[in-house]
Symmetry: C2
Subunit: 346 residues, 2 copies
């Protein structure tokens, strides 16, 4: 059965009345109402308290009437369940006990997401109830390569030397690690859909540091593995749950991304969306790709940038979004101008 909401229809390449719009990190620090909730809880507290996660997830829907909600959570949430603790600091996530050898990879847990991350599934159920069908809810996870990057580096990184050493000097351990993460990620996304998520996005934030051949071997292969597992799960196939694969720094890999198995390829802002569609081919929808800093433009100028993207992408198979998460410094009124520009485009 075909979905009726324009966001789900656009993901599947079906006809739409207009291009849908949402924003990565739309529940976030640029919103005063988010900062107000956040001032009373730690970041992890928000992620782990279903009521609070539900509240902030709905804020941008109420404020801007976005066409999709996305679960408030963090891509690193499943790592603790695998046995790799994460601390969220002002400077970003810190993993005090990084994974850098075969023995440690061997010891990683294969967690049952329902048991180890019940707060995520509960948040999804509450959000669905609160949304009451207004817009679809997107679940998400980090991609295996990106989660492995954090696990091995122990946090963010400039040159990813620990990770690259593992990939290049101990490829068997690297593949074992990526395989384990892929299994966890697919179970995690299946559980999210079982709880009520109506689409899922896989975030490959760090895949853009790889040569095209290494991207195929270490990133795409494992995201594709997740996607294949999801496709063969009854939860997914019975309801045609769209899968979005977002790669930050995607320009070198567009030809390969046409074979990711995802319904939608999420594009960063550095590629021309028309060129990207041409290189991806007709079988896949695209999501993106306004430069998040273009929201610093005067409000009048934002409309022009939005229009260029909509014209280049075409009406069918396009979900409007930023090319990366919205920045905390962004004026919400400029977000409103962006949403209005998308909605009023002919």
């Amino acid at each position: 059965m075909e979905p009726t909401h324009r966001f789900l229809r656009a993901c599947l390449g079906l006809s739409v009345d207009r291009t849908p719009v949402w924003m990565m990190r739309q529940a976030g620090r640029y919103l005063p109402q988010y900062r107000s909730v956040r001032s009373q809880s730690s970041f992890m507290g928000l992620c782990k308290t279903p009521d609070l996660a539900c509240e902030v997830t709905l804020q941008p829907i109420d404020e801007f009437e976005m066409d999709a909600a996305i679960l408030f959570s963090d891509i690193l949430i499943p790592l603790e369940a695998m046995g790799v603790p994460v601390e969220f600091t002002e400077e970003g996530p810190v993993l005090p006990s990084p994974v850098r050898d075969a023995a440690r990879v061997e010891r990683l847990a294969d967690p049952d997401p329902e048991e180890t991350l019940p707060f995520v599934m509960e948040a999804i159920r509450r959000i669905r109830r609160s949304l009451a069908g207004r817009v679809p809810l997107i679940g998400f996870s980090g991609a295996p390569f990106t989660l492995a990057s954090y696990m091995v580096e122990g946090g963010g990184s400039k040159n990813f030397t620990h990770l690259k050493r593992l990939l290049f000097a101990s490829p068997a351990s690297a593949h074992a690690l990526l395989g384990k993460i892929a299994a966890t990620v697919s179970r995690y996304l299946e559980a999210q859909v079982a709880a009520g998520a109506e689409a899922v996005q896989i975030f490959d934030t760090w895949a853009g540091i790889l040569t095209p051949r290494d991207f195929a071997e270490f990133a795409l292969r494992y995201s594709r593995d997740v996607i294949d597992r999801l496709r063969s799960s009854p939860t997914f196939s019975s309801s045609r749950v769209p899968i979005i694969y977002y790669v930050n720094g995607c320009a070198p890999y567009l030809d390969k991304l046409s074979r990711s198995g995802a319904d939608v390829v999420g594009l960063d802002w550095k590629v021309d969306i028309g060129d990207a569609r041409a290189r991806l081919g007709p079988g896949v929808a695209v999501q993106g790709n306004l430069d998040p800093t273009a929201l610093f433009l005067p409000k009048e100028a934002i409309e022009g940038r939005v229009r260029e993207i909509l014209d280049a992408a075409g009406r069918t198979g396009h979900v409007f979004n930023l090319g990366h998460g919205v920045l905390p410094e962004t004026d919400p009124e400029h977000v409103r101008a962006m949403v209005k520009a998308v909605k009023s485009h002919g």
Copy 2:
């Protein structure tokens, strides 16, 4: 008159006996003999003392018989002469007084490089004497956009919000700033060639953060402006001094880079060099593009990666290099294996 050295010949697309090789940041911390000199001087001390700059410039030539030397210096050196002081700290460069408004742009100096940066020209003269014709010497500068990024951000940056605000909210000031820097950069590179540099490289380290249209407007336009000025200078045209334009994160802009005016486009490691040549077209040579972290591979495996690049690039119009600067963690013996692999390729 055609140059005889294979590095200069490759830059100009002329026939060569084999592909030449050098490495960005080849005079650097991965070399014990560099660390020994550096232990007795600050980084700026090395840059500003011609004898020391000459000594470290020659180290990789003596150690690995690279096919080109590159002046030991820093891309931020001309900023102080323009009136923007730079401090080099362990965490990277810090500019305590960033440039963020029209009045400050207006006050920037247009320095005479011979007067304000005599140590650079003296280092070039000494290096040329010490090299005595063994290999050509490359001079360099940061590209206008990348120098502007540092000036506006006050150092490195994650999201470049100050810079993007200037570009998008005050484009007239941004263009005035970029125009001033382009004038300084072209005079600086002319002076380097007058002092003895036999090729120049323009480093656009940060241009990869831009959408294709912003890359054309704010980065390529001003690098092209520098290149055009150099082309029309008698110093350059009389001796066919090759110009290399390196853009980190070049994948989205390859079509545009064919019109940069440079003889050589320097590629980062994220693009397939064969694809890049196809998109750049026949009129331009390429430089690159081994992943710097591929030097963490076992020595035997490095040869395979080198061979793939040489085969994909073809013999003519290719200068072998890394796709970014060599990392401090690199084993010099792995650099030796890379150089050997290039030199022994059939």
